[in-house]
Symmetry: none
Subunit: 214 residues, 4 copies
């Protein structure tokens, strides 16, 4: 059970990477994120963003030269900051354990990531939506995430398979089921907010059993 969890830490360090973004620009980013999540990127106008952030429209463009850049600025810290540090952290804590059960893995993955999903529903929703619709987002995301999975998750899966702890399916399929099940929680969150605590154990049980060897 990885309790040295670092979502907050990761986020902090990402924010630090951003340099000292002045407060108005922070408000622009925050407003963009909320509106993109609520209405989608294309349906959000820069006027709305400015109004929500309480700044003039020109201010939106001080740091970000285009609306597309604003989308990138909203997603980038997650894609290239939070996500990697999260997965890297996870790998460091999990991979090293000598005796790793399926339950250990699933629980670690799901538990952490559910909190992550809950706390970052907005970004993730924007990410999912634009991923489905914008090839540039796909091309930004895939080369970031795929290697992470391949280097951090797949070796662990392979070890578990060798140990008879995990069913012998292709790694990408196992990842698909894990991610898909968590994604379902994201979509469900669009309908109604839900405390993540109640879902965790059930979801862990579902995936753990689903991936047990025959």
């Amino acid at each position: 059970m990885v309790k040295e969890m670092t979502i907050q830490d990761a986020f902090q360090s990402v924010m630090a990477t951003r340099g000292d973004v002045p407060p108005k620009q922070q408000r622009v980013l925050a407003a963009s994120l909320v509106l993109f999540a609520e209405q989608g990127f294309s349906n959000t106008t820069t006027k709305q963003i400015a109004a929500r952030a309480g700044v003039a429209e020109g201010t939106v463009y001080r740091r970000y030269k285009t609306k597309d850049e604003l989308l990138a600025a909203v997603l980038a810290p997650f894609v290239s900051g939070v996500l990697p540090s999260l997965i890297g952290d996870f790998a460091n804590n999990i991979v090293k354990r000598d005796y790793l059960t399926r339950h250990d893995l699933i629980a670690a993955v799901i538990q952490d990531r559910l909190h992550f999903i809950q706390e970052n529903r907005d970004v993730l929703q924007v990410l999912l939506t634009e991923f489905l619709v914008r090839s540039d987002v796909r091309e930004q995301l895939i080369p970031q995430v795929m290697p992470l999975l391949q280097h951090n998750l797949y070796p662990v899966l392979d070890r578990l398979k060798t140990n008879g702890e995990l069913i012998d399916w292709p790694d990408d399929r196992i990842a698909q089921f894990m991610i898909g099940t968590m994604m379902s929680q994201l979509v469900r969150g669009v309908l109604a907010d839900e405390e993540v605590e109640s879902v965790g154990p059930i979801m862990i049980a579902f995936i753990e059993k689903g991936l047990a060897p025959e």
Copy 2:
């Protein structure tokens, strides 16, 4: 974008005027679907639709008074036609069986639905994307789909639970996991086309085991 006419209104009028869709309008619908799936609804212009359909821009508006109505017309037959008949069919075939195993259920659901997903990837992708982004689509979809599940799927689940064939989780959670797992295949399809045949057995096994009683 969303003006006075909500998608619901549009939906009504679409439903009212179906049946005798002339070929040019069919081409408009087909072009809209493809483009909406490729680029999203908001990023698609009526000019693109007209060009792809091989008609004049004005022709797009002969039957569908607004672009929103076009979206409704693309989704409507699916949401209120294909989906219900599918679930109804399923219910008729499954519910009546005296002895129903978990495998029977899952296999029936998944197998059919996977072909369904493959053949309707475009609509489903549009549906998923706009569902995440447009509240009017959500408000159109939910009251259509929820009762279907409640009346057709949930009783079956309850029967299986009673028979000890299924784990005793809330129906909506079980539905969430089933739908989520299938949805993962939809998202995966955005990355690369994949023959559905290869996934079916694995996915059935995953869900079947995941939902087995303790």
Copy 3:
């Protein structure tokens, strides 16, 4: 004295090249030309053009995708149509004469061109102004005009120099003085309209004497 003058003819043929430009687009072009001449390209808004042309702002963009393209559309027929056919015509009529005096040349050049300047003051003023300020206009104009001069005017000058009819200065310098003197009439026209008839003889005399051999 080249009286088979073809300014009108040239313009007609250029207009024909334009295909059948619909009347509203003609009005847009005309309005653009007048406003560009009056206020300069940068100081003219598309709103002004639309208002002057009596069309909606969107109509300005039906044929010309950008304001820059509008400038090109206003200048292009002159630069690549009227000008060449004018110079070509001139060359055909002048070069062939066995015995050509300096006066014949200058009179032919100036007389025709003064009418040309008067009738096309707007375009020429735009051309001069933007030539001074926009490198893209320069790069469009120079490769069009320089070869014309080199192939049509310079040989004639050389023949006259050989015959002792013309002072032995470099061709480009002679062209500079001729063009500069005519240009002065263009600039003068900005201050006050003036009938060209009165200037012609004086200007011809000035240039003719100025270019006489020692």
Copy 4:
């Protein structure tokens, strides 16, 4: 662009506050001049000016309240300082001579002015361009320059005409040809830099012969 404050007003206030221009403002003026000449007034942003001058954007506005005033400040010293003193000088030196030949006049005018053109190409180019495009610049320039010509140049021309040294054309026409010929050198300079030394004698010869009596 041109709001309530016309260039005239600006001009007045510029004139009133001259004398003690601090170095940063000098740099702003210099940067403005270069950029206006390179790209034209309208195509130059205050940001570019600030960057080129190495100052903050706000500093540009410390002394000059508007961009129009900056244009006025760039042109003012030239129009009301350099130009008059130049013509005045010339008049003082030329007019007093008892025996003045056409050559003396032309040579004096052209020789001096060619160096002047070369050294002030930037201002002159801005002046010419904006003269063609901005009526307020025209209205500023004309009442400054016309009297200068009328009081200093025209009497000399008249005296030469009386002496049979100069052709009997209207003074303004003679001035037009002289200025036009020099202007041609300015336009030529836009295409390629050229040492003025080589042009001088030829240009003097051209004008001198062109203006000789019959």
